[in-house]
């Protein structure tokens, strides 16, 4: 395509355009920017200053250097499917979109690793290696379209992370552009457990506040020899929760153990991938076991037994891959499916000890009644990662605020029972204030101090992950620094 010139009076836009090679690779008109005013978290909307589309790590570094020199706030964005607002330009940032850096750079089957650019789509990695018998394990529900760079930023989880671990357990090395434009490599040769501080662990899940990943070495796994999937319908949530605990206590480690409640089932059944779940059940479990063939049947047998002991109404094993895929499509599109029963939703991401499940669900129900908003629950029951989906209508005055308050209360409940405010979606904008439920001011400062080592000017993705310094401590610290 022909390279067009950028016509604007803004010198920064023109200079950035030069770095990325012309008008094709930069957006700066309001109409184009509007599509970037939010990500999968739609409650906050802010226009970026511009969106640039670099094609290489070098271009990323040059853009970052430019922004750093000119004090322009900036942030990185992948597919923009994040659910906590990590890619929303709160401060009129220059968005560095990594969708043009989407190559699979190398696959090393012998050493079971692959190197990808950050814009490479999660599921495409599995598709690219499945014919050789391998796959990439972390499977967020958005894996059809989310990028691995974004997965690293958010330390994304997914249904199968119960057995295989979240993104951080699959990252072997990375190349990073630091907020001053310097490019560094961390363990790019992918050796296991390198000495020194675990920088990979620090960067993974830093929600785009410490650097921009431009190359990622990931672990790939051999396809399990066998796989069986069970669907169980329960008349009582408590029975379903108890079944979850029983399965784990029986010593089975399912690859995935998912639960949906009545409202969630109503949503997925009204949407594009219905399975035909009964409408009058209170909860369903979707359970998958995988591994070597020997022993799978015994595990399934045991799971069926547990479900029956816990008064399951109906329980079945997927008869073929098609049926299994249908069940999973129904589950994995669950969040988007809420659109079919509600104009807006707010998804929360609390973590609780498994044993507290019935109690927490009961308290969420009370919150729902208190605010007069329906709350659907879709969650990774196996690892106690809840996703209460607060359904609301932003067009009704006051309802957005109510939804936010209800969501926050759900997280308070999770924190109260000894859990956490996020399992896999990240803090972003959404849960900044709720960080106080689990961290003291001092603990938060300890963390922002780490951020300041990497991101001293706080130009990179500012205003995310930690509460705003509205409360005394950080303000005091700033004053102290001034006095020095």
């Amino acid at each position: 395509m022909a390279v067009k010139d950028v016509k604007t009076k803004d010198q920064h836009i023109e200079n950035l355009a030069k770095i990325v090679g012309g008008a094709q690779s930069i957006l700066y008109k309001k109409e184009d920017l509007l599509a970037y005013d939010c990500d999968g978290f739609t409650i906050h909307r802010h226009l970026p200053k511009a969106v640039v589309f670099p094609k290489s790590a070098e271009e990323v570094a040059q853009i970052v250097k430019y922004c750093n020199e000119h004090d322009l706030p900036f942030l990185a964005r992948g597919a923009g499917t994040g659910l906590s607002g990590g890619a929303i330009p709160l401060n009129g940032e220059v968005i560095i979109s990594l969708t043009k850096m989407k190559r699979l750079l190398s696959v090393d089957l012998e050493n079971r690793r692959a190197v990808v650019e950050p814009g490479f789509i999660n599921l495409k990695l599995t598709h690219s290696i499945s014919n050789k018998g391998y796959y990439y394990a972390p499977d967020p529900s958005s894996q059809y379209c989310c990028t691995i760079g974004g997965n690293v930023a958010e330390n994304a989880g997914g249904a199968h992370c119960l057995k295989y671990g979240v993104t951080t357990n699959h990252i072997l090395g990375m190349e990073v552009v630091l907020p001053n434009g310097e490019m560094i490599e961390i363990n790019t040769n992918g050796v296991l457990d390198p000495p020194g501080y675990d920088l990979l662990g620090l960067l993974t899940g830093s929600e785009g506040t410490l650097g921009i990943v431009t190359k990622i070495t990931v672990r790939i796994l051999k396809n399990p020899e066998a796989k069986q999937t069970v669907l169980a319908y329960f008349d009582k949530v408590s029975d379903a929760s108890q079944a979850v605990s029983d399965i784990i206590s029986a010593g089975i480690v399912p690859a995935a153990l998912e639960m949906m409640d009545k409202t969630a089932i109503e949503g997925v059944e009204a949407a594009a991938f219905p399975v035909g779940h009964p409408k009058d059940i209170e909860a369903l479990l979707l359970i998958e076991v995988d591994g070597i063939s020997a022993g799978i049947d015994e595990q399934i047998h045991e799971i069926l037994e547990v479900c029956r002991r816990r008064n399951v109404r109906e329980v079945k094993v997927a008869q073929d891959e098609k049926e299994r895929e249908r069940w999973w499509a129904n589950r994995k599109t669950g969040f988007g499916a809420m659109g079919a029963i509600s104009p807006d939703y707010l998804v929360q991401d609390g973590v609780i000890p498994r044993s507290k499940l019935p109690e927490v669900l009961e308290r969420i129900k009370q919150i729902s009644e208190k605010y007069g908003l329906r709350i659907a629950n879709i969650f990774h029951a196996g690892d106690g990662n809840l996703h209460p989906l607060v359904l609301f209508d932003a067009r009704k005055p006051g309802e957005t605020e109510k939804a936010l308050a209800a969501g926050s209360e759900c997280l308070q409940v999770c924190a109260d029972v000894g859990g956490s405010i996020t399992g896999e979606h990240g803090v972003g904008i959404e849960k900044r204030e709720e960080m106080r439920f689990i961290f003291t001011d001092e603990e938060i400062i300890a963390q922002t101090n780490i951020r300041d080592v990497f991101n001293p000017k706080n130009l990179l993705n500012a205003g995310k992950l930690f509460p705003t310094p509205g409360r005394c401590v950080e303000v005091k610290r700033n004053e102290k620094e001034k006095m020095k």
């Binding site: 739609t42 979109s97 989407k102 814009g119 957005t400």
Partner: protein, 455 residues
């Protein structure tokens, strides 16, 4: 503003008070975007997002923009028109969407507003007006154009034009198109002009009406012929209502909903007596089924359109559902199947054509990865947005298996585009319509029965 601050006090998103900057009737339908929760599951399904990586060229981005105009945040202008018209209208996002958001419908409604706010001017407007209003709706003019084309092909003029390179006065993509134009034959509407009904071979089980299509009948009248053969062979009397007209899909895609409605009304009237309306062009079939969308503000016609839409059926689904004679003659060939967007995404028809092809003895089907990815034809998109269409076609051709002899599909627009792909990328596949292959198998069977040699 300090970068450590964020303004929580921003007005809540999507506060719709009126339909904002949509000033004409028939604006984009609020209930269509109400289901979009911005999850992004549509992104990877979108060919233009795949090519650009830019979200204003993605389904959720477009929905967001369309909604923003209604919220008064954007105006209907060139910058808004660009992403809205760059959509291929392939509907792949509708398949991908967990909440069934009708992005295609929104796009068409938005185009309607854009064309009223900023009518096409200059030569672009003139060309568009000439074809959309002056040619497609008029069977006789279309046939005349067909005859001219036929003259061009038969008289040696084509050879001269190609040899003298005179043809290169046209833009490159049109030269490419010229090279793959099929040989023009007699339209079936002309051929059966005086026949009230084309009788079934053997006992009549059902009577169906056939939409001959505008371009289909000029460029691909042999496919119409094959469709009639296949229908009559399977116990169907075929009626070709003479006052039928172009389905209007091209007009509606281009934002000319008024002409679309005019044509819809004519077709609804023309097929009033029919119990079944059989279509062999996916794009037309999808349009006919969506006629009720054009009459959202006209209760009387909406009802008529709904009744009409319920009668419309694609040929492959009709044969599949009502049963057809399994051919006995063998056609030994390796083929692959391309899902036309308006068949797979638009009408949910995927397995039926494949079943028909596999019912022919000797046919071996090779799977095409991403078979339901748009080929870039998209009505006249390959003429209006040739650069993007070319990029989409390139990515499509990369998925066509090397070792097949034919690519089968159910839409004439795709057939032209895929033929272009075959030519452009030095491939050698024959492009066929699903019913053509079935018809050949029947014909071969008959000839063998008569003791004649096949071909």
């Amino acid at each position: 503003m300090s970068v450590r601050e964020s303004d929580l006090k921003q007005a809540p998103a999507c506060t719709v008070t009126s339909l904002g900057n949509y000033l004409w009737s028939d604006p984009p339908d609020e209930s269509k975007w109400a289901d979009c929760v911005h999850c992004g599951m549509c992104l990877e399904s979108c060919p233009t997002y795949e090519q650009t990586g830019q979200e204003q060229h993605s389904p959720r981005g477009r929905v967001h923009l369309i909604k923003s105009v209604a919220e008064g945040k954007l105006e209907v202008n060139e910058a808004f028109a660009d992403p809205v018209f760059a959509c291929l209208d392939c509907r792949a996002c509708t398949t991908a969407c967990p909440a069934d958001v009708d992005v295609g419908g929104l796009i068409e409604e938005a185009r309607g507003q854009i064309r009223q706010a900023m009518p096409l001017t200059g030569w672009k407007g003139a060309v568009s007006k000439f074809f959309l209003e002056g040619v497609f709706p008029h069977a006789n003019r279309l046939h005349l154009l067909g005859s001219l084309l036929k003259f061009y092909q038969k008289s040696g003029l084509q050879k001269v034009a190609r040899k003298t390179r005179l043809i290169h006065i046209m833009p490159e993509h049109l030269v490419e198109m010229e090279a793959i134009l099929p040989e023009v034959k007699q339209p079936v509407r002309k051929k059966y002009k005086h026949a009230d009904v084309i009788k079934a071979k053997g006992e009549t089980k059902r009577t169906v009406a056939l939409l001959t299509g505008c371009v289909m009948d000029v460029m691909f009248s042999d496919i119409n012929e094959a469709t009639i053969n296949v229908l009559t062979r399977n116990g169907n009397d075929v009626v070709i209502p003479q006052n039928q007209t172009c389905c209007g899909a091209l007009h509606v895609h281009a934002g000319d909903r008024e002409t679309g409605r005019k044509l819809a009304k004519q077709n609804i009237e023309a097929f009033k007596e029919a119990e079944k309306v059989i279509v062999n062009a996916a794009g037309c079939g999808c349009m006919l089924k969506e006629y009720p969308e054009l009459f959202r503000e006209d209760h009387e016609w909406r009802e008529k359109a709904e009744q009409f839409a319920a009668k419309v059926e694609d040929i492959s689904k009709y044969l599949h559902d009502t049963g057809y004679e399994k051919p006995k003659a063998e056609i030994k060939t390796r083929i692959t199947y391309h899902d036309a967007c308006h068949l797979a995404h638009g009408q949910g028809i995927r397995e039926e054509p494949r079943d028909i092809l596999l019912s022919i003895p000797g046919v071996e089907m090779v799977h095409m990865p991403n078979a339901d990815r748009c080929c870039g034809s998209a009505g006249i998109y390959n003429i209006t947005h040739s650069e993007m269409a070319g990029a989409v076609l390139k990515s499509k051709m990369e998925h066509v298996p090397e070792d097949v002899e034919m690519i089968s599909m159910g839409n004439p627009g795709c057939m032209l585009q895929m033929a272009l792909g075959v030519l452009k990328y030095g491939r050698n596949q024959k492009i066929v319509h699903t019913v053509q292959l079935l018809d050949w198998a029947y014909q071969k069977e008959d000839r063998l029965k008569e003791g004649k040699s096949w071909r």
